[in-house]
Symmetry: C2
């Protein structure tokens, strides 16, 4: 036994204050997901290796936490693979399950498995932990919470519009008014690649573009130069640095290709929808938005702060046409968004957006003057709790200063004092922990006074 026990590196214990702030965010997320007609599901932490592996590339496969087979099953360890350095094969011989790496692959598995129990279009949200065997470092964890909302089985852009409204509604309720929702379309990026003669290297083109915030326009242009056969640096630089963008201009320069025109029309419809139905935060087309993930095929979107750019994007998503086909369910168009809980938390801390009441461990404390006094006012305590208010009953009959100090450390609003003196007089004293003021109340009136003054 280690002398100082600790949680594993890359994991976190959440103490009450931090957790109450996280849950404040999660509650607003969950309520909004529901108000927008999303239904919650949960999938297990454990998934079969056959579900997880081969979905995230080699690097992803390496980062999936593998569960050792139980009991005697480890005897089947393939030692020859280990000795010949074929670690994948060795791991496969002693592990059949892993911890889920994201919520997207389990969603695809879930939709395919339960397709006959689901009514499509299926709007689901999921707030659960995922695990990645990344090297632990500041702000990167091996165990963290993902918050996703997706619609499966509808290609209507009403979904994009609803998801954008959902983003705005959540972030507005969290207190954000200075965010920008950048939007783009993979169809436009594909056409852009063709336009510059990089049609055979679309993924590389998008990957290069995706780095623009990190490495800047010049380096991105250098990378694209290497894969583009019909490359005009001036034209692309011009396009990428344009601030106020006119989608009609793209129609002029793009070849008359139905895929790219559809993409432009979809974006146009979405943006014009919000030109009359204003959002609290800003939405704008951004040709440089690329999003790293391979599976996006249509609209892509990303949210970040205009004033605090250091933290990066706090949400992102997009449309994908082929997610469930790896699980043998074809033709299911999906679109989804994700909320970056840890980054939202950081941004809220830095912007001072958490309400003060989250600092309170509980609202009220009953001072302890012995079990008989507690017994006497117990029905009143029940009444306060039945009104959904928090009461901590101090367990020990110790000096009042010690009890006050405890209440103070917990940021309690009021201490309820009912000693022998008060009992004789049929009164209760309410001590306001902010001002120190003590208010004498008739015992039959104190609950109402307490509730109404807090």
């Amino acid at each position: 036994m280690s002398k100082s026990p600790s949680n594993p590196k890359g994991t976190r214990d959440f103490l009450p204050l931090e957790l109450s702030k996280r849950n404040y965010i999660i509650n607003i997320l969950r309520k909004n997901f529901k108000n927008f007609g999303f239904s919650e599901i949960e999938t297990p932490a454990l998934e079969k290796s056959s579900t997880l592996l081969g979905k995230y590339g080699n690097e992803g496969d390496r980062l999936v936490f593998k569960i050792l087979n139980s009991g005697d099953k480890v005897k089947k360890a393939d030692i020859s693979s280990l000795e010949s350095g074929n670690l994948n094969s060795f791991v496969k011989s002693i592990s059949e399950k892993g911890l889920k790496y994201d919520l997207t692959v389990p969603l695809a598995r879930f939709v395919s498995q339960h397709q006959n129990e689901i009514i499509f279009p299926f709007k689901r949200f999921q707030i659960q932990n995922v695990w990645r065997a990344d090297r632990p470092q500041h702000g990167r964890y091996q165990e963290f919470t993902q918050c996703d909302a997706d619609v499966i089985g509808s290609n209507s852009i009403i979904q994009e519009i609803e998801l954008i409204k959902l983003y705005d509604s959540v972030f507005h309720q969290l207190g954000f008014t200075d965010l920008v929702l950048k939007i783009n379309h993979r169809g436009i990026l594909r056409e852009l690649a063709y336009h510059f003669g990089a049609g055979k290297s679309i993924i590389e083109f998008i990957t290069a573009l995706d780095k623009i915030d990190k490495i800047g326009v010049d380096k991105v242009l250098n990378e694209i130069k290497l894969i583009a056969s019909d490359f005009s640096e001036k034209e692309l630089r011009n396009l990428l640095s344009k601030k106020e963008f006119d989608l009609k201009y793209l129609k002029k320069i793009f070849s008359k290709n139905s895929d790219s025109f559809l993409a432009i029309d979809e974006l146009d419809q979405i943006l014009s929808y919000f030109s009359t139905n204003n959002l609290v935060n800003e939405i704008k087309f951004d040709l440089t938005l690329a999003r790293g993930l391979n599976y996006y095929t249509g609209t892509i979107i990303e949210v970040s702060s205009k004033t605090n750019q250091r933290i990066g994007s706090i949400g992102g998503g997009g449309r994908y046409d082929d997610l469930t086909s790896t699980f043998n369910l074809k033709n299911m168009s999906g679109v989804g968004i994700s909320f970056g809980l840890d980054r939202i938390y950081l941004l809220m801390e830095e912007s001072n957006l958490f309400p003060d009441y989250l600092d309170k461990s509980f609202e009220f404390m009953v001072a302890n003057f012995g079990i008989n006094n507690l017994k006497f006012i117990a029905p009143y305590v029940d009444e306060i709790r039945n009104k959904n208010r928090e009461v901590f009953v101090y367990p020990d009959n110790v000096k009042l200063t010690k009890q006050f100090s405890f209440a103070h450390k917990h940021n309690a609003s009021t201490v309820i004092i009912f000693g022998d003196n008060e009992k004789k007089k049929g009164i209760v004293i309410l001590k306001n922990m902010q001002t120190g003021d003590q208010l004498k109340c008739n015992i039959n009136e104190f609950v109402e006074i307490l509730i109404n003054s807090n």
Copy 2:
């Protein structure tokens, strides 16, 4: 890739209806925990092997899910241990972490690790998943949710009293009024063992007693006979089958020993507290209540239904004096209770205690007559959602019968109809999905009518 993807045996996918019922229970638990002054914490799913192993006995160690070390670290596999059949040593060479097996050992680790950040007495609750590599079978899962509330650092029986009230409050709010909270004290069981000459086999004595519901009094007496040197079968049978028990009687027959007298006095104080402050459910002393877990040292408690005994106990807990000492934090008395979520769920299903509204995926649906009509009533939809009510916007402009059928399958209350005709007239039609009635409203009044009639 398997043709039909599936979740691993022993794990569960939760579809929306089942999850909303589970969350209904969890929300009532969480609200009550908070109202009783408990603070929520979370610990990671991953714990170091040194934290987990050696705490649950050999069988428990076997059932802890082990995580395979990542990447090249598996090269350190100790093949000679594997070949010599020393599986524990082999496993140790390739695994340093496991999945948490319960919430109790992680709590002890947490309290010891964070003792300087915690204010004692520390009232914490925790609602998180745990994992056990048990053979999957009906009603037994490898991944399940535990719901625990504990107080660390106070030996006042006010805690027991508060926990009993907490049980009663939660179960009452869930709709239960026919439960019995059985209470006993390990001090009494220890003295009972001494009384019958089994003082050297206290664990075996308690283990035998614990089986009384499963194997009956006769077989329990047979087992005790083997370990008790001063055994009167008639006397023990009498004690175990007494219905209405008088604690004073135990004082008479027990030797004048401070440990057992303290135990009797504690139980007496708790029971007499509730003789005037009535619970909704029943509390009673039960000499046959033993509780399996080794770490209990004081009061023990268990909750079950009086009318539906097949499901067994739906909650249990007790006092332990030594939980954190394995993590080098001494003299921390603790007392806690646990809620059996899966069994509570089953019992609520069988007793029909879930409210009907949980069947609704969402309350209201906006029928789709094209993007322009949706755009027009969007501000009204925002208004409904801002009042915290659920609205699903149907994504496609398809036949109305298909849209109604979708709303019907989701148990929506009302469909909001705003087609071109309605737009011209400045009205909205509200279709009640239960009665089929259609109500025409002025567009500026429909939100209020909708909200007030549902």
